[in-house]
């Protein structure tokens, strides 16, 4: 099974995407799932979205990239974090 790729997006400095990326990696590790994550800014999403399975973003993003987009704000505020992690793990397990 190929390792899935997630693009983690935030505003500019990579601060909130780094927090989200770490949480995703930890959750995947705990679930025994391999995943490849990479970070970028909204301006770079258009050129990188085709290469990933889905996007997790902490910033507002359009929805025209052809891959699912998950709101990653929960990784910063903690609100609804378990649900978001569950959604991400389900997408990582999904082989269709």
């Amino acid at each position: 099974m190929p390792v899935k790729k997630i693009l983690v997006v935030c505003g500019t400095a990579g601060i909130t995407s780094t927090i989200a990326e770490q949480e995703i990696q930890a959750a995947a590790r705990a679930a025994g799932i391999q995943v490849q994550t990479m970070r970028c800014t909204p301006g770079a999403v258009a050129t990188r979205a085709h290469d990933v399975d889905f996007i997790v973003t902490t910033t507002a993003l359009g929805s025209h990239y052809g891959v699912p987009i998950i709101n990653g704000m929960a990784f910063i505020t903690g609100i609804g974090k378990e649900q978001v992690i569950e959604e991400i793990l389900n997408r990582l397990r999904d082989n269709d």
Partner: protein, 162 residues
């Protein structure tokens, strides 16, 4: 590896400011005085706030985390303002909406990978509404920084390269 400065000079406790911009200017000036940021940090931060706002949809205490590109950071630091009255910030994940920030954490960070421990602690602090609720009644900047240091150690072993 880098050490993140967390200093009493970087705490504004119930500052007398008229609005958001005046608050952000005062905070950026503190960071500049401490040598944490370079010329242009404030302007870059304001521009970023316009494009990618930093108000967080937290429960209880409202929090915003304004920041700018790494190029304007000379030495990593965090400036904290605890406000008497909430100041409006647009939402990071939905700029059409505003939140009322009671706490503003101005981040001068330049290497998220090296400062990941600090970032994780920061996220923990953001998720701890009761902590900030207590800080809102703090009587001195020393009290704020003391509590914050426990929650957010300014230097971690990892960041000291140990």
């Amino acid at each position: 590896m880098t050490q993140v400065l967390l200093d009493e000079r970087l705490v504004l406790l119930r500052p007398a400011v008229r609005d958001r911009d005046e608050l952000l200017a005062a905070m950026a000036e503190r960071l500049r005085t401490c040598g944490a940021v370079r010329e242009g940090f404030f302007e870059a931060l304001m521009e970023r706030e316009k494009q990618f706002p930093t108000g967080l949809p937290t429960e209880g205490v409202g929090i915003a985390i304004p920041h700018a590109d790494a190029e304007f950071v000379a030495a990593p630091a965090v400036c904290v303002a605890v406000l008497a009255d909430a100041v409006p910030f647009r939402r990071m994940d939905n700029p059409a909406e505003c939140i009322g920030a009671h706490v503003v954490l101005m981040l001068a960070l330049n290497n998220p990978d090296a400062q990941i421990r600090t970032l994780q602690r920061l996220a923990q602090s953001i998720q701890d509404s009761e902590f900030w609720q207590r800080m809102r009644t703090a009587s001195s900047t020393g009290e704020v920084i003391g509590s914050l240091r426990m929650l957010l150690p300014s230097t971690t072993k990892q960041e000291r390269g140990e």
